[in-house]
């Protein structure tokens, strides 16, 4: 379940990412009533088995069985909630055109990891974003030059060019990529959690800024949920 919108008196439009059929939007009737038998299963961050009645513009959900519920554990930790919101919004945007089993599995794995608090939520979020964008065909390069392929490591990063760039390709005034941040970005992209978790807060914040800029650049419109993550980062 990616997100929900209120519809009419007691209905909801549910946006889902399916394993085989890509993104699906369907109406769930009466789920906002306390008497609804499957309203709780159709909340964001739930993994469900649904039966749909095909409609002209929107399908209608006739049955829902939960396979895994990550919502309760995620909302109990506010930073995990904001991270999960970024993940589902990204999945929603990346899945607009086509279906991808890998995108589905990546999202489910990331939500499960957040619910179980396996890794710090900011690292889980940034790793998910880099890997989801890679699956969508926008894999960044933080080692070799993203433009000419010159072997790295390189000291500048330009998100518009695809990541780290060599001195010949770096436009004047390009932001500098320090060794610690580069190492963390590579670890997040590969899912090397031991190395990623060894980083300090300043390095994570710098890497988070680069991942955020990289994501917003490729998704055309910025993610609405991302600004709330950033304000959350500054909340004591």
């Amino acid at each position: 379940m990616l997100r929900t919108h209120k519809l009419g008196e007691a209905d909801r439009i549910i946006t889902m990412l399916s394993r085989r059929h890509g993104k699906i939007r369907a109406v769930a009737k009466g789920v906002r009533r306390t008497s609804s038998r499957f309203g709780s299963r159709l909340e964001p961050f739930m993994v469900v088995d649904v039966q749909l009645y095909e409609g002209r513009s929107l399908d209608t959900i006739t049955q829902a069985e939960s396979l895994a519920g990550y919502g309760a554990a995620i909302v109990a930790d506010y930073s995990a909630y904001t991270a999960a919101s970024v993940m589902v919004e990204t999945a929603d945007r990346l899945s607009e055109a086509e279906s991808s089993v890998q995108q589905y599995l990546l999202l489910v794995g990331a939500l499960r990891s957040l619910a179980r608090a396996e890794h710090p939520s900011d690292l889980a979020r940034d790793s998910y974003l880099l890997r989801a964008l890679s699956l969508a065909g926008w894999a960044p390069s933080f080692d070799d030059c993203a433009r000419c392929g010159a072997p790295g490591p390189h000291d500048h990063v330009v998100v518009q060019l695809g990541g780290a760039v060599c001195p010949d390709c770096a436009p004047p005034g390009s932001p500098v990529l320090d060794a610690g941040t580069r190492e963390l970005l590579v670890a997040l992209l590969r899912g090397d959690w031991d190395r990623a978790e060894a980083s300090d807060d300043r390095v994570r914040s710098r890497a988070g800024g680069i991942v955020s800029a990289y994501t917003n650049w490729h998704l055309d419109r910025g993610l609405r949920s991302m600004s709330h993550v950033e304000s959350e980062r500054t909340t004591p």
């Binding site: 997100r3 038998r37 499957f38 709780s40 909302v75 506010y78 919101s85 949920s225 304000s231």
Partner: protein
């Protein structure tokens, strides 16, 4: 499509929440065709509501005056504040006749994906109310859905710095239903929040 003002009326009704084109057409023709309908009273009432209704400067509930009837009532227990998302939640709780404290209406719930963060809600005015040491308990009565729970989590974290009891409305089985029909999430919550009888 109808001519002129009839279509204008249908279009205006269609803009209201929960009213689709068919319902809008039905209401419009009810107004046009019903002989004894007091349309002037309805029109005046709509205008009066728009002019006179404001939000209580203390709790954010809808009110005809600067402060709402609940905030003005000296018989209400001012040591307990019940935090809700919308004014309609105040009406729902008042129907129970169980709660005699005051309210605070947040104006929604935190939903980052919809662009709604803590700064978009009436959280700062709540913190200002709680600075007054007379408040001893805050009841978080946000909706029992994901956004409501996340808002309650955020508020709980903010309120831990204050020496105030923070409670959350119980979740569980609806009265009058059969246990076998309860979904696993609700039933799980009912087990978590079970009460001791002996």
């Amino acid at each position: 499509m109808y001519e002129g003002i009839v279509q204008d009326l249908i279009d205006e009704f269609s803009r209201l929440p929960g009213i689709g084109p068919k319902s809008a057409q039905r209401i419009a023709f009810h107004i046009v065709q019903t002989e004894n309908l007091d349309v002037t009273r309805l029109a005046e009432l709509l205008a009066t509501v728009r002019e006179n209704i404001k939000f209580c400067r203390i709790c954010g509930n809808v009110s005809e005056q600067e402060t709402c009837g609940i905030c003005r009532d000296p018989r209400r227990d001012s040591t307990i504040i019940c935090v809700v998302e919308e004014s309609k939640d105040v009406a729902a709780i008042e129907r129970t006749r169980e709660f005699r404290g005051l309210y605070h209406v947040l104006g929604g719930a935190i939903s980052p994906i919809d662009g709604i963060g803590p700064d978009d809600l009436s959280i700062q005015p709540l913190m200002q109310r709680l600075a007054d040491a007379s408040v001893t308990e805050v009841i978080l009565a946000t909706d029992p859905n994901l956004e409501g729970e996340a808002t309650a989590t955020y508020l709980t974290r903010l309120l831990t710095t204050l020496e105030i009891r923070v409670s959350r409305l119980a979740s569980g089985l609806p009265v009058g239903g059969d246990l076998e029909y309860a979904d696993e999430v609700t039933l799980g919550r009912a087990f978590e929040g079970r009460t001791t009888l002996r």
